[in-house]
């Protein structure tokens, strides 16, 4: 086996182990009051499997480093995979401290979705651009990912708190918003499912696009619902597009990205619809009884602690190390580039979170919403800012 396949198999193994561990944590849930927070055997097995999975992912990371010759955090696939790994790492630490099996049931599948999401991007090994050839970049990116991984735990705890505590007996703003958050998670799953299906089918549709008087080729791997602007379809026997991407969406990739978003909505809504059909209630409502056995106080504390631990790490990686790198590469440590601004927005947001909590007493549910919004901002920075807003960061 060559190094490349060792690397990708190690990642796959980690992926499977995380899912397996989820089941063990599920089995470790104790509804019985006296046994909570006690280490159970199944819980320990779950932890061990998670750690083995983590080690396997570490093998992926190291072998890929050897192959590429640089820390593998330099494109969307590599970075997002590493983000998933940091989430698992943060979970392991928090679990060892709090021994809360419920957390595993939620954190592991969500982190696994992130890793699956990562693998939807090109896994090719490509040379490192000049601006990225600096070890400060690797330090910056890994620290950011670590910080975001810890903040992810606060999101998970916050989400669990909301599911546990929000009144589901009648329809209200709060449980509709909660359902919307859950629906967003389904959109990720939809994206992954649709992309995987058409990948397996090797679907391809090619367009010829006129761009500044030149003809360029745009390749689609999903059936084109939205075609690129000013394009002609070259492939035969593929679906006719329904419309062209609007003019205000710029860049060569705009059509393809829009198309992917539309497909994710279709796929995600379909899966969500099925889930709704099977459970016959809101998903939040369905999950609520599952969480009866966990103390809301405990969730609240885990949520706050992970922000308390994650905030300084994020500051260090996302602002300070980022500034050091930018200073060395371009001579300006801060340039108001969209990616930088969104890191600052994230930072401001969590600063507001901490102040509201400490001084205005925003505990429990209010805090839970903030934790969810905070992580939504992080995801926005990862997805929208990278894929849509123009940015200096190369893999953007």
């Amino acid at each position: 086996m060559d190094l490349y396949s060792i690397s990708s198999n190690a990642l796959l193994t980690a992926f499977i182990l995380y899912l397996l561990a989820t089941f063990f944590f599920g089995g470790a849930i104790r509804q019985n009051k006296s046994e909570r927070n006690k280490q159970t055997k199944t819980g320990t097995i779950g932890l061990v499997i998670t750690i083995i999975g983590f080690v396997s992912q570490l093998v992926y990371f190291i072998t890929r480093w050897v192959i590429t010759g640089h820390a593998p955090v330099s494109n969307l696939f590599e970075f997002t995979t590493f983000l998933g790994m940091s989430m698992i790492f943060a979970f392991i630490i928090i679990y060892i401290y709090y021994k809360n099996a419920f957390l595993g049931v939620f954190a592991l599948p969500l982190a696994t979705i992130i890793i699956a999401y990562a693998s939807m991007f090109s896994t090719d090994v490509v040379p490192l651009q000049a601006s990225l050839q600096n070890y400060w970049l690797s330090i910056h990116v890994t620290t950011v990912a670590l910080g975001q991984g810890i903040l992810f735990i606060s999101f998970v705890a916050g989400l669990m708190y909301l599911i546990r505590q929000i009144d589901q007996t009648k329809l209200s703003w709060r449980n509709v918003m909660l359902e919307l958050v859950i629906y967003c998670i389904f959109l990720f799953i939809g994206f992954i499912a649709v992309t995987t299906i058409f990948n397996v089918l090797s679907y391809e549709a090619t367009f010829e696009v006129e761009r500044d008087g030149q003809l360029v080729i745009a390749e689609y791997h999903l059936p084109p619902i939205a075609a690129p602007k000013d394009s002609t379809l070259l492939s035969e026997n593929v679906m006719k597009s329904w419309f062209e991407a609007p003019a205000w969406m710029h860049g060569d990739e705009a059509g393809r990205k829009l198309n992917t978003v539309i497909w994710s909505f279709f796929g995600g809504s379909l899966i969500y619809g099925l889930a709704l059909l099977i459970s016959r209630r809101r998903i939040g409502e369905r999950l609520q009884p599952l969480l009866k056995g966990v103390k809301p106080d405990m969730l609240d504390e885990i949520m706050y602690r992970s922000v308390a631990i994650g905030f300084p790490v994020f500051t260090l990686g996302g602002l300070i190390f980022a500034a050091i790198w930018a200073q060395i590469a371009w001579g300006r440590f801060w340039g108001w580039d969209p990616k930088e601004v969104w890191a600052l927005i994230t930072w401001f947001f969590y600063a507001a979170f901490l102040h509201l909590r400490l001084s205005r007493g925003w505990h429990g549910e209010k805090s839970g919403w903030l934790a969810v919004i905070g992580f939504a901002i992080i995801m926005f920075n990862l997805i929208v800012v990278n894929l849509v807003l123009a940015s200096l960061h190369s893999y953007a």
């Binding site: 192959i67 490509v126 651009q129 609240d300 580039d337 401001f348």
Partner: protein, 546 residues
Amino acid sequence: MNKIKCECGHINPEGTVLCEACGKPVEENQHIDGNDDKKLLNMRYDGSARRSQTFKKSLIDKIWGFFSSVKVGVWLIVLTLVASIFGTIFPQEQFIPQDAVSRDPAIFYEDRYGIFGLIYYQLGFHHMYSSLWFIILIALIGVSLVICSLDRFIPLFRALRNQKPKKHKKFLSKQRLYSESSNVDDADIDKLVKNLKKSRYKITEEDGHVLAEKGRFSRWGPYVNHIGLIIILIAAILRSTPIMFSEDYMWVREGEQRVIPGTNNKYYIENKDFILETQNANDERFQEASLEEEIPVNYQTDVVIYEAKNADVVGAEPELEPILTYSIQMNNPAKFDKYTLYQQGYQLNEFKNMSFKIHETDDEKEESLGNFTIDLTNPESVYELDSGFRVELTNYYPDYIMTENGNPASETDHPRNPAFVVTVYPPDSDEGEVSFLGIGKNIDATGENEYKVAIEDVEFRDVSGIAISSDRTLPFFILGATIFMIGVIQGMYWQHRRVWINRDKDGSLLLAAHTNKNWYGIKRDIEKAIEGTNVSMARDQQELDE
């Protein structure tokens, strides 16, 4: 000032909510922190007397009160956050792409984004982060930071220094963690105290009453980190002064030696060579990738820096002494004196010079009657050829375009598309012939020219774009950031935990505990400490309902 004397004998400043020494609620001040008899005590700032809560009459009191409110602080942060979001909807003016219709913001935004672009531009969102109101927001955050830190730090410091192990029963029983145990003997207490010591609590004893405390220094974390932030804000203000920060940009051609702008003619740079390296799929490591494009992996300018020894002598020819030979790369700037040079731009294959020959228009062999070479950055006005011909450079357009009304013009001063109008005087003649020359153009104005000028050779060279910056604010930013990090870590990774162990009058043992965060941790500490004693575990009086 109206001092408040507590029944324990301690004199508290006006506005105190809980006696600094014994913690007994000061009757008339309970409204300040919203305490009421049925609820647990509000332990924020230990019930100390804060100026903002005590004095509310004069204008200064009102301003102080306004800025010391965390509510106001959070509002300022949220407003800044929202403004920042608006700044990222469309690119900021410095990020208007090169290929845009126009780089003039007045045109660009409307052209590309329609009506929303126009509104964006008119609201000034295209230079959001340098706009006055954004800067005012940041400054207000700074003011708020200073005032609110002073408002709390001093009284909190006082309260924690004056605290006594013996607490009023009301103080203890209204802590979140509290228990009463009867039939506890001294040995139990000894053991309890010893266990707490083992968990690294600091013990203070007074008449058999015990205070176990750890991590008090973490309470100063927020104030330390706010000081860090203030230093950063000050550094940002300093940065807008030319003494502390200056930045320039220069283009320097291969082989060219130029003075470095912004150095008062003290330093010169010579561009020896500009190198652009690219890499593609040929590298075996990257075989998995199907690369269509080459990826640039190195931008480099090999330079020599000279110092002018007599820069201050006006008019004197500078005496240059090489001080540094360096390969400036992206991510690898050159540094000397207080300047740093960064690789920032490049222009490949700029025209360096063009050589021409003159031949008779109807000579099919185009036999040369004389050659001349025009240096495109430094053209001469007349070229005298050995053969007796004289060529006058009548007009030179380094970057030729044809304007809308049909006149030739030069778009920039860079020789990217050179064109010339030349007048050729044959030997011993005063009658010149006019020709227009350019890349792929050779136009004879009258159509009757006897001689023709033809391009023989072109030489190219690269131009390197170098940014020069002199930034003396960096140490301040580094200091501020370091202090900020120390402060947050101090406040976040440690907690201030206190356990009070008091003997009540009837001999029962009162145990109460408080922490500023991480209640789970302090509960574990107490569980560990009471192991093997008759002391009952403190009950959490605030646990959420299940």
